[in-house]
């Protein structure tokens, strides 16, 4: 096995599940998601031919994965106007207002929120959900730590506004399970 193959195997062993989740952030349909994940795997394997250790393996593979996914999103979408920025979503009416009192946030809702976002904001929110710190998100996205911090603040507000209602209701009521 070549060094490229070794690097690929190590990276996938460690970050394979994160890459699966990342693919879900870009493609809702199962078939499309599998296609995207394959594209990502191929691109990561090919990219390791050029890996120069100037950044961590995690930063490297997340950059490749996001960039492959963004390229695919742009290839498939004729217009970008059906995607929103975090700023746009903040000004939209709160869909949580329509939820019933015992509604808890679901994975579907988180996906739905992510898939409304424009590529760069999607990168930030996925990295945030993957527990990356602001500096690492900055390394992947190229945004300054301040810009990342502002965006994370917006993401937290958005998630809280949309799902806090369910969370707070859930805390008041004992679980019926």
């Amino acid at each position: 096995m070549s060094a490229q193959d070794d690097l690929y195997n190590e990276a996938i062993n460690e970050y394979g599940p994160s890459l699966e989740r990342l693919a879900r952030a870009y493609e809702a349909e199962n078939e499309d998601r599998r296609d995207l994940l394959q594209e990502i795997h191929i691109a990561i394997w090919r990219s390791f031919e050029l890996y120069n250790a100037r950044c961590s393996v995690r930063t490297w593979i997340f950059r490749v994965a996001h960039n492959v996914a963004v390229s695919r999103v742009m290839r498939k979408r004729r217009f970008l106007s059906d995607l929103a920025s975090l700023e746009d979503l903040e000004t939209l009416p709160d869909p949580a207002a329509e939820h019933s009192a015992d509604q808890k946030p679901t994975l579907d809702q988180v996906w739905e929120l992510i898939q409304q976002l424009k590529p760069l904001d999607r990168q930030v929110i996925v990295s945030y959900l993957e527990e990356m710190d602001a500096a690492s998100i900055g390394d992947v996205t190229g945004l300054s730590p301040q810009n990342v911090a502002t965006r994370i603040h917006r993401i937290k507000n958005l998630l809280a506004r949309r799902y806090q209602k369910g969370v707070s209701d859930d805390r008041r009521q004992p679980k019926q399970r």
Partner: protein, 198 residues
Amino acid sequence: MTGANQSNGENDPKKLWQNQPREETTMTLEKIHLKAQRLRARTRRELLGNIATIPFSIAVAWFGFLQTHDLEFRTAFLLSVAWTVLGQSFVHRGMWSATPPERSALLTGFEFYRREIARRRNLLGRFLQWTLGPVILCVGTLIVLLTGMARSVGKPGAVLPFTTLGILWLVAVFLQRSRGQRELKQEIDRLNQMQSAR
């Protein structure tokens, strides 16, 4: 998939995200090697598919060419074919300039996205100039030629349906591409604003 929120930390979006059910991944190195080769072949096929305007222009020009001995019309048809062939080389040059996946890790998400938008905007501009342009010239010349022929036999309205259809198609394509270009410009402006705040 909604059952995923039944795990621990069910109300925390981060926990929900990280605890989502996994799928069996069957990617092996052998498969990757094979798929990398297939991907290269598919890219070549897609590029070949994009030159469909060449046979279309040649067919329309050839048809028109046979209908007339007028030097001006024949020149216009030949010009449209030459423009189409030349245009495809320019359009393809733009397509090849895309950052290959193996190099995309050298760019941050921001830089990659901005380049991708700029490239797509450039491609749209090239499409209007190098693909739509010769098609308009070719079909337009044919319409003028056929209208003249229809008039000479006393049926000037005979070409009207074809002309109307052609114009509607051209306007729709032009509007759609223009909208795409406008949106990409807005996105570039938004990214520039973000960059100044970086």
